[in-house]
């Protein structure tokens, strides 16, 4: 029993919807309605029950990373709200063992008039830290947020980047035993999102339980070892990402095609695979080897002239190189449905480190990004070349330029002097 983090039994949540757009938001309405139909039963009939969740039961163990997937309105957010105690279930029960933190709450309760220092204490207390704990972590939080010099400035004078950094720094020091991430609500630039993901991964390694709600199957696959698939408030499947995600994607393809009329271009990278030149799947490459990156995509519509970009990002966030269809002169006139695209890199001369493959799909003129997928990790191996040597290594040729010295011995020195 002791390794259980969350135990949910037959959770249900009912919302009552009043037909017509107006709810009884004002006393006037309520009175008018009551006068029109004084008997309660009459009014009841007009209201409709909507079950956002029905009989959801599951258990999560400590250290497990659970993905919660489902289409819009499937009940994912309601489930998260119940687990984080924002709203109560209508029936059922959940037992939660350990402190819950969420990335919904980044910056919750920040007051613009208060200084960074004051907000750290306020926000820390709101998300559940003890005063003594905030005192102890204070310096670490300020360091992490990189805002030392502005710590006594009201946060309304902060740039949005500083604001988010400070808010995230407080949240990241809570170190909850259960972390809830709702990706629909996650904001910020890519770098911030990467920070969140790293934080979640690191927490999970130290034994925390992660709950991730996401539409992005790629990040679910990357982070989660178990997936709950919700549909219309019910738990459809509970299993490994390999078995659940294909089921979700199959059922999703019919519904998502209807939503393409909005003019938005949607394409998603459903999988990224790495092979060596001979086609063997690999995660570790030797320095100088070529890599075959296979992209699986799916799109409900027809896309004209998309540009694919594959970037290799080192684990310390250094973007090492980019391969793009545009630069390499490979044109894709149209694209539709599901498909595969493969790129073979030149010999990888990157130093020995961990890297990540990021995939971006752009429109024809690189004006609008259609999709961004952060992805798969791989390692490059070399006995000597590490990050101390820089980003990449190519052999250079050395010599003593004897000929040059004889013909014009003074010129190089002159140039030096002028500089």
């Amino acid at each position: 029993m002791s390794d259980i983090a969350i135990q949910a039994e037959k959770l249900s949540k009912r919302y009552t919807i009043t037909p017509g757009s107006h709810r009884h938001d004002t006393l006037y309405h309520q009175l008018a309605e009551t006068l029109k139909s004084p008997f309660r039963r009459d009014r009841r009939e007009k209201e409709k029950d909507f079950w956002a969740l029905q009989d959801i039961s599951f258990e999560a163990r400590k250290g497990e990373a659970l993905g919660i997937i489902g289409h819009n309105g499937a009940g994912k957010s309601t489930l998260l709200k119940i687990l984080s105690r924002i709203t109560e279930p209508t029936s059922g029960r959940v037992r939660i063992y350990g402190r819950v933190g969420s990335l919904l709450e980044v910056g919750t309760g920040f007051h613009p008039e208060l200084t960074g220092r004051e907000n750290i204490f306020l926000n820390g207390a709101i998300i559940g830290m003890k005063r003594e704990e905030i005192h102890r972590l204070f310096d670490a939080i300020v360091d992490f947020a990189e805002i030392e010099e502005f710590i006594d400035t009201p946060v309304k004078r902060y740039s949005s980047g500083m604001y988010v950094r400070l808010a995230f720094a407080v949240s990241a020091h809570l170190r909850p035993e259960i972390l809830i991430i709702d990706e629909v609500l996650s904001v910020g630039d890519l770098q911030f999102q990467r920070k969140c993901t790293n934080y979640a991964e690191e927490l999970q390694k130290s034994g925390s339980t992660i709950l991730l709600v996401s539409h992005n199957m790629f990040s679910v696959k990357a982070l989660c070892n178990r997936v709950l698939y919700l549909s219309h408030g019910k738990l459809l499947t509970d299993g490994s990402p390999e078995e659940v995600i294909p089921q979700f994607e199959k059922e999703g393809s019919s519904t998502s095609s209807s939503s393409s009329s909005e003019g938005d271009v949607s394409i998603s990278i459903t999988d990224v695979e790495l092979f060596d030149e001979s086609g063997k799947e690999r995660a570790i490459f030797d320095f100088g080897e070529r890599m075959r990156i296979r992209l699986h995509y799916t799109t409900p519509q027809v896309i004209h002239n998309p540009n694919f970009v594959v970037a290799l990002i080192r684990s310390d966030d250094v973007a090492c190189c980019n391969y793009s269809t545009a630069l390499d002169g490979y044109s894709i006139p149209t694209l539709s449905g599901e498909g595969i695209l493969e790129v073979i890199t030149p010999p990888l001369k990157l130093v020995s480190e961990a890297y990540e493959v990021h995939v971006l799909v752009w429109d024809k003129d690189f004006q609008r990004p259609y999709c961004f997928q952060k992805g798969l990790r791989f390692h490059v191996r070399h006995h000597l070349f590490s990050t101390h040597f820089g980003v990449f290594h190519e052999d250079a040729e050395w010599s003593v330029p004897t000929g040059l010295l004889k013909i014009n011995p003074g010129s190089s020195q002159e140039v030096c002097c002028h500089d």
Partner: protein
Amino acid sequence: MVDIQPTKGLLHLDLFAVWQHRELLYFLVWRDVLTRYKQTAIGAGWVILQPLITMIIFTVIFGNLARFPSEGIPYPVFAFTALLPWTYFSQALARTSGSVVGSTNLVTKIYFPRLLIPLSAAIAPVVDLIFSFAVLLVLMAWYRITPTWGMLALPFFIVLAIMTALAVGLWFAALNVKYRDVGSIMPFIIQIWMYGSPIAYPVSMVPQKWQLLYGLNPLVGVIEGFRWALLGKAFPDVAVMAVSSIVVVLLLFGGIVYFKKSEQTFADLI
């Protein structure tokens, strides 16, 4: 271990959770006090000016023009003594009523006992009360009125004032989530309440047969208590005090029950 279940029964008040979160209560009060007068020219000076200006208006209109009796006490002191608890009360009531709606971003994003929200809103203006109390002491010295030992009983009347503000504020705070009409009604309620309390006039102006009914307004007990404790007036009628106290306790209990009942749907309705 946290056990999440639908709340059953009206009396599951879970006040222990409030106690467990007392540090957060402290921070919320601290935030309210700190942010109250930021970016104002006079800043905390308003704390003193608000009751002072009201006192001057009252003195001119009710003291000099209408010639209300003040039971042998200089009218400015008479009025200001009552304005201390009244200014606190009106501030606390207005802020408590709007507190939950004003904390939408907290309510929809994170759990903590919701009672802390109105509670902190009711406690924060006590700081203002303490500042204006200093002004009263200056005023009393000016009119050469020596405080009595009754002053030691002042905390009791302050607690009664807090309980009154909270008792009424809890109802409105919860109602406000569902019906925003509360925001429009509030100024009138406060105005009526002011005239229904012995601030500009002494209790003795109310006919004897209505005294007990008048005592249903808990502020009557609070204000009379303040005047007794500070100015050495006769101790308020015990029966009136008892009625005031009982009304407050009942209202407060009902308010907590109603608030707890409504709080389950705050996040869904707000």
